[in-house]
């Protein structure tokens, strides 16, 4: 089977600044992968390239063997690191919007999760608390049967209870053939759910290995290793 995500000599330049340089990467199916690195290391750039929100300066990025386009967007479910909905829309209208455009969106699943979270579907997004807004976004993203979920800082601004719920949501919704790519700098919180970690440093991959390998080899957690690698 083709890797779900593949980068070949992927480079993205902003002016004279290399946000990513010469990244080679291949993600297997059925894994939960952590994309780790300090701010400005190129995590979001990589994610935006995978979603076709940026055009590579050089090199290629392929989703399921295809350059980002309508065909890859059908199978990628993406959660940006900030709000990306029209705040004037009601939650139920956002669900209708997703159902209209994504064939793999399950309204039933979304309803179940929104009910569990006690979110009022007749409210406008703006009228919800910031935490609730983030939950609505995650629920919609995770209610798709995607091949690749790309979650950019999904646990950034939420409280610990919500964080547990989010991790649980991710764990119970992804299927065995789908891959989840989670970018974060809060490693301790998600270390246990990851198979694999990729460390990004100044736009380059400095480590690409499994969590248990790190623990066996270094005798320390990914978080501890991260602190060591990225020591200021």
């Amino acid at each position: 089977m083709r890797p779900i995500l593949e980068c070949q000599k992927l480079t993205k330049k902003y002016g004279n600044f290399f946000a990513l340089s010469n990244v080679d990467l291949s993600l297997e199916r059925g894994k939960i992968v952590g994309l780790l690195g300090p701010n400005g290391s190129g995590k979001t750039t990589l994610i935006k390239l995978a979603n076709g929100l940026l055009t590579p300066t050089e090199g290629h990025i392929m989703i399921n063997g295809l350059e980002p386009g309508p065909a890859t967007k059908k199978i990628v479910s993406y959660l940006p690191d900030h709000s990306f909905f029209n705040g004037h829309m009601k939650v139920k209208h956002l669900m209708a919007y997703y159902a209209d455009f994504y064939r793999n969106f399950s309204t039933e699943r979304a309803l179940k999760m929104l009910d569990a979270l006690e979110i009022d579907k007749d409210k406008r997004l703006n009228a919800l608390s910031k935490g609730a807004q983030e939950k609505v976004q995650l629920v919609l993203v995770m209610s798709r049967d995607a091949d690749l979920y790309i979650l950019d800082e999904p646990i950034g601004g939420v409280d610990p209870a919500a964080r547990d719920y989010i991790l649980r949501t991710i764990l119970s919704n992804y299927s065995e053939n789908s891959t989840v790519l989670i970018s974060t700098h809060l490693i301790t919180d998600i270390e246990q759910v990851l198979d694999h970690v990729i460390f990004l440093q100044n736009g380059q991959i400095s480590l690409n290995t499994s969590v248990d390998e790190i623990r066996t080899e270094y005798g320390k957690s990914v978080d501890a290793l991260f602190r060591e690698v990225f020591k200021c």
Binding site: G30, L167, S172, Q192, D212
Partner: protein, 127 residues
């Protein structure tokens, strides 16, 4: 509740230990059906692949067996579980003695203290 896991050891090892403990302590009875990998993983808040690895390892030791269609079960072999229990107890005892050595107690002193502790004495009466 997510399971409590240490930071410095492989996660699958810790999951194995936890399930072994649950079997030995009777939380799971011999012959019980185990929850699905996904449910266990969600319960522990760990990656399903890691949980899968832990269960496969347990299968290799024979504590757990899987039936192709109906899932995974705890072994019916009470002897094996007893043996496992003894094994774990020995492990604890060994660890305990190592700790006592570090504190400077000889094996004899340690044993003596254990006896006295069991009799209900709370303070040392060496004087």
């Amino acid at each position: 509740m997510p399971w409590n896991l240490d930071d410095d050891r492989p996660i699958y090892l810790q999951l194995m230990e936890r399930i072994q403990h649950d079997i030995v302590s009777g939380t799971y009875q011999p012959g019980d059906k185990l929850p699905s990998v996904r449910d266990l993983a969600v319960d522990a808040a760990v990656n399903p692949n890691t949980m899968q690895k832990a269960l496969s390892e347990l299968e290799r030791c024979g504590l757990v067996y899987s039936q192709r269609t109906s899932g995974r079960f705890i072994t019916d072999d009470a002897g094996l579980i007893r043996q496992m229990r003894t094994e774990m107890a020995k492990e604890h005892i060994r660890d305990f003695f190592v700790q006592m050595h570090k504190l400077g107690f000889s094996d004899e002193e340690t044993l003596d203290m254990i006896r006295r502790t069991l009799k209900g004495e709370t303070h040392e009466t060496d004087s």
